[in-house]
Amino acid sequence: MRETFALVGFFEILMVLFMQWEIYTKKIITTFSISSYIIALFLFYLGIVQNSPYVIALSLISAFVRGFFIPWYMKRRIVRDHWREREIKPVISTAMSIVISLLIVVFAYVLYRITFYNSIHLVEGSIPMALLLQGAFLIISRRNAFIQLIGYMTMENALFLFEGYLFPGLPFIVEAGIVLDLIGIIAIAGVVVRMMKNSSVEMNESDELRG
């Protein structure tokens, strides 16, 4: 179990690093979809091992919403407007953001060791922590709305990994999963789509939003 968790966790970390490396939005979406499926698979396995229908439900939601629906919807949007396929100017240069993302993993490990480890006693707990922070960094380091949303959903994945492995049996986790996914759906359905109609997915600093 520990080995599987570490394997899945490091694979996810690698995926996020890969997303930092890519500039083509489509590839990032595909990468995210794959990583969601893997999380879902792991949760399914976990649910069977722990004999918990909630975790299995969570895995099915993960697979459907974050593995299939949202990536599919985003991709359909991108195919329609070819010029939005790649991000032209990232906020932080790609090489730099890969290295920072890596340092964040190290930071999460150190942070976990000096705080939570004293009470949890599982070294692997640092992996979801790292993923959470990496997702946050993905949001900060990009301006593209799609990629920011993917950063948010990466954090969500990390959270479920954390919950499912370290603290099984949280009572409201399925509801939480549903609401979190709803946010993602609202975001793409409401905001992004209209943003598409207007001009750009790139999030720019406008004068009215300063100070």
Binding site: L159, P171, E175, L180, I183, G190, L209
Partner: protein, 458 residues
């Protein structure tokens, strides 16, 4: 009689569903009826004992929150009926706006009456889902971007608070508030979880490290939505923090919350000086008041009562300020303070009400906010050296001067033309009523005290 505690939620949910029926003015009528029946039920509840069941946990604090949420919700719906006309290019139809508004109110009422930290989290997250699109009612690029920032930053904050819930659950083995109120054993994880919850819910409440979405949203959302946001949404987020601090009664957490509150006040007061956009100015004022409330919650006892009084009167005063800023925006077509001149002569009622409500939000004596801030500062004096109290007072003074100076320059300057362009209609009366209510709060301080200590008014 137990079903009465679910009535507010039932009314709002039913109203939101009825709003989907496409019929002229139907949605407005339905929403107003639902809002006022919610207010009525909330007031009836005050005279009933506290109630706890598997799902509901309604004590004095919840009752005060219910009254506050329902009243601001009612005034917002009333104000929306006039204000929606001024939006040139709305993103969606009117009935959908009311649908979301009612759902928004539902999610807040849900949050303050459930008996489970997890469900509180779900409720706070649901307010994001329902309110996100409301911010983007005006179909412009900047408002959509403000919405986007709101969604992303607030969701990240809520992920942190979900993590906090997971930690708390891992220690206590339950998230039921009633059970946890009986005492939990504290350890490091619980304290860490509580601190993360303060940060996470604080994101939604406009507390310092992750407050950046707040001025953007308040600057770009339509006036009634801004009013609902700063009046009740942020207070509901702080309600979650208050519950956490009631449960995890640990010095570290309280001190942490106190410092966050102090930083929030400091940042907001400093940034207020340089604001050129009046809606953003008021947004920073909200942030400053939230910082005060968080400090009050963290200090406990009298300061806690002070925080509740401040929350209540601030909700009325600040919603009034935002309604009035909506009126001014509709007339002057500009959000810049320098472009708005002579409001007192062109729109007398709006002008004077704005002046008084600006005094109210900065904590001037006749208003409830003054008593609230006084009690909080008394609490600071009790637990901290004099220096901190002076620091807070000086920040409050900075905020007071910058808001009232800027509002004064809008209200009492020479107008470009002196034509009176104001009609007596709902949009002028609602803010007046709310400002009056912000004043009337001071007469109900004993009742608030009684509610917080006993749970009902006998």
């Amino acid at each position: 009689m137990n079903y009465i505690y679910t009535l507010p939620m039932f009314f709002t949910l039913a109203a939101s569903l009825l709003c989907l029926v496409k019929k002229t003015y139907f949605e407005e009528v339905v929403s107003i009826i639902a809002a006022f029946s919610t207010v009525a039920v909330a007031f009836i509840m005050v005279f009933l004992p506290s109630y706890t069941s598997h799902y509901l946990y309604i004590d004095g604090l919840s009752k005060i929150m219910l009254i506050m949420v329902s009243m601001i919700y009612a005034s917002t719906v009333m104000f929306s009926t006039t204000y929606m006309k001024y939006i040139d290019n709305p993103s969606f139809e009117k009935h959908f706006y009311y649908f979301l508004m009612n759902l928004f109110a539902f999610s807040m009422l849900f949050t303050v009456s459930v008996n489970d930290l997890g469900l509180i989290w779900v409720g706070v997250e649901a307010t994001t889902v329902t309110s996100a699109l409301l911010v983007a009612t005006e179909n412009t690029e900047t408002s959509i971007e403000a919405t986007w920032r709101y969604i992303i930053i607030v969701s990240v904050g809520l992920i942190i608070s979900l993590l906090a819930n997971i930690f708390i659950y891992s220690v206590t083995g339950t998230l039921n508030i009633q059970q946890m109120m009986q005492g939990v054993q504290t350890n490091k994880i619980l304290v860490l979880g509580a601190m993360m919850a303060v940060i996470g819910y604080g994101t939604k409440g406009g507390i310092f490290p992750m407050h950046t979405w707040l001025p953007d949203v308040h600057g770009k959302a339509p006036a009634p939505v801004s009013a609902a946001f700063s009046g009740i949404l942020l207070a509901v987020a702080l309600y979650a923090v208050a519950r956490i601090m009631q449960i995890v009664n640990v010095g570290t957490v309280k001190e942490f919350a106190f410092w966050l509150g102090l930083f929030t006040v400091a940042v907001a007061a400093t940034l207020m000086i340089v604001q050129k956009n009046y809606k953003r100015l008021f947004a920073y004022s909200t942030m400053e008041n939230m910082g005060m409330m968080l400090m009050g919650l963290s200090l406990g006892k009298y300061a806690f009562i002070g925080a509740v009084i401040l929350t209540l009167s601030h909700a009325f005063a600040k919603s009034s300020v935002f309604y009035l800023s909506g009126n001014i925006l509709a007339r002057y077509k500009s959000k810049k303070i320098e472009n708005v001149k002579g409001v007192s002569q062109r729109m007398p009622f709006t002008g004077y009400t704005l002046f008084f409500s600006a005094l109210a939000v900065t904590g001037t004596p006749p208003f409830g906010t003054f008593i609230g801030e006084l009690l909080i500062i008394y609490g600071i004096l009790k637990y901290f050296p004099l220096f901190y109290a002076l620091l807070v007072i000086s920040f409050l003074l900075v905020a007071f001067i910058s808001i009232n100076y800027k509002v004064g320059s809008m209200v009492f300057s020479k107008p470009t033309d002196t034509v009176v362009t104001e009609r007596k209609r709902v949009g002028t009366i609602v803010p007046i009523v709310n400002t009056l209510l912000a004043f009337l709060v001071i007469f109900f301080v004993p009742q608030i005290n009684q509610l917080l200590s006993v749970g009902m008014i006998k």
